[in-house]
Assembly symmetry: C2
Homo-oligomer: 322 residues x 2
Amino acid sequence: MEIEKIGEFELIKRIAKKVGKGKAFIGIGDDAAVIKAGNELLLWTVDTMVEGDHFSLKWFTPKQIGMKAIEINASDIYSMGGKPTYALVTLVLPEKTKIGLIDGIYNGLLSTAKKHGIEIVGGNITHGKQLAIDLTLLGVTTKKKLLLRGNAKPGDYVCVTGNLGDSRAGLLCFLKNIPGFSKVKKKYLEPKAQPKKAKRILGKANAAIDVSDGLASEIRNICTQSRCGAVLYYEKIPVSSEAKKVAEMLGLDSKELALFGGEDFELVFTVPEKKFKKGMGIVVGRTTKERKIFLQKKGVKKPLKRFGYDHFKENIEKVKTK
Amino acid sequence: MEIEKIGEFELIKRIAKKVGKGKAFIGIGDDAAVIKAGNELLLWTVDTMVEGDHFSLKWFTPKQIGMKAIEINASDIYSMGGKPTYALVTLVLPEKTKIGLIDGIYNGLLSTAKKHGIEIVGGNITHGKQLAIDLTLLGVTTKKKLLLRGNAKPGDYVCVTGNLGDSRAGLLCFLKNIPGFSKVKKKYLEPKAQPKKAKRILGKANAAIDVSDGLASEIRNICTQSRCGAVLYYEKIPVSSEAKKVAEMLGLDSKELALFGGEDFELVFTVPEKKFKKGMGIVVGRTTKERKIFLQKKGVKKPLKRFGYDHFKENIEKVKTK
C-alpha cells in the first residue's frame, strides 16, 4: 500500500503503535517529546522544511527560510508550556548552492534564535537534490507548566489565540500570482511563534496545540488524545478581512482556509469555562463527551469529515497544478 | 561562490564563526553538542541520510537503512564518552512510497535502538522528492567521562580501534558490480557503533572522534581543535585482507581507502604513551607541537594534502560516473 492512501494521520498512529510506550514522560504524539532531566522536563521537537513542499525560493528570501525554521519549532515548545533553549540545524544542500544562500539562511536563524533566547549548538551539512532545512529544538518546562494535547475535559471551551487562514490565503496569492494582499503574504512568509499568548493560558488551559495543519486537524489531535469530541462554531472562527477578500476573489469559503489551511502558528486550546478570561483567546467551540467532531453552522450540526493539510495528499506543487 | 569551491570543512568553520560561542558547554565542532543538565551533561547529535547520496535502495534493505541511522548517530555519542538515550526520527518520503518500506525502516530503527538502550520518542514525517532519514539522538555523560576532539596533547599516540577502509571497499564493490567480498559489503551496509571500544579508552584517551569521513579527515579535526599537528605512519594503518584485495583489483592503494574512505565508525583517539595499553587500539601515529599533518611512508614524511570524504565534492552518483 502507498502512503497517499493511508495519509499522514494514520501513518503517525501506525508508527506510534509500532514504537510503543517507553520510559519517556511523553513519547510520540504531542507537539514535542517530554523527557525528565533532574527537576525539570526537557521538551524536544524537530521540523523539516523541504524546497518545493514547504517553501519556494521564488517567494522566500533565504533569511525568511531561516526565520521560519526557528519560529515553527519554537511554536511547538511554547504550545507545550515551555521555553526553547538550544537548536541543532541540518542543511541539505544541492550542488551549486551559493554560499550567499547559506549565509542568508543563517542570518534568519540567528536573529530569530536570539529573539527567542535560543542558542544554535551544532548540526549537520550534507548533500541532496532538494534544498532542505531540518531544525531540532530543545526546551525546558516543569510538570506544573506542561501543557499537553491529551488533557482536554468534556465541556471545555475550545479557543484560538488569533485569526486563522491568513497563511493559506497568502500562499494562494503566491500560487495564483495575485498582487497586493501584503498582510496575508507576510503571515505566510514570516509566521511567528506566540510566547506571550502561550504564557497567558498557562495554569488555566487543559490542553493546547499550535496550528500547523489547520483548526480541524488540531482539534482532531486534541480530541483523539483526550478521548473526547468537540463542536466547532463555524460563525465564531476568526478570519481577517484580507483573508476574506482573498477567499472571495477565488470563490472559496474563508472559514475553510481557517479549518484546513494551516501554518498559522496560533494556539488552539481548551479551558474550563470557569478559568476562561477574555484576553486568553476567542471561543470557537466546546469539547463534548461524545467522541465525534461536529461543525455547527447556522445552528445545524454536521460531522466534520475533512481534516486539514496532509503532506502526502497535497503539497505546493499539487496546489499549483490545480 | 558555490559550495563545491569552499568544501564541507571550510563551510562548517564559516558557520561556526557566524554562530559564535554561547553558554552551551560545547557548541558547534565536536561529534555532538554538550549541554549541562543538573549534574549530568547532555550530548546531542543529528545525522541525515539521503537516498542517492548516503544510501541506495538497490543495495540496502529498508531494515538496514534504519539500522545504519541509529548506529552512525550512536557512534557520535559513544565517541564523546556518553551513553545514548532518546531519539527523534524524521522521514522525508517521496510520493508513492510503500508502507512496507516505512515498516522495514522502523524495524531496523527499533531493533538497533533496543540494542543500544535508545528510546524513540517522536519525530516528523514529511514529503520530499528524495527519501531521507534524519535522526536526532540525545545521550548522557559526566564531566569526568566527556571525551572531546580538542584535548589532544603534543606527543600523544594516535590510535585507531580497528581496520579502516572496509566500508569504502564495500561501496566500491557495489558501485562497480563486483561480486563476492561479502565482509566489506556488510561493513558498508551495516556499520556498527563501538560502545565497548569506547569504554576501554574512557579516562585514558585525551581526544577522540569516530571515523565517519576517513582517518585523514578525523585527524585533521582533532589537530585543528587541539591546536597541534600529527604524523601518521602509513605502514601502521590497519586494513583488512578483503579491503586489500578490493583495492588491488581496482588498482588502488588500500591505505587510501582507510585515509579517505570513511563510514568505518571505528574510533580515532589520542592517548599519552604512559596510559596506552595494548587492548585499547592500534598506534598509527603521534601528535606533534608543529601544527601540520604529515604522512610518513618508508621513513619519509610528506605533508598530507587530501582530507577524506567531502559530501560536496563527491557523492555516490559522482563516484558512479568516474
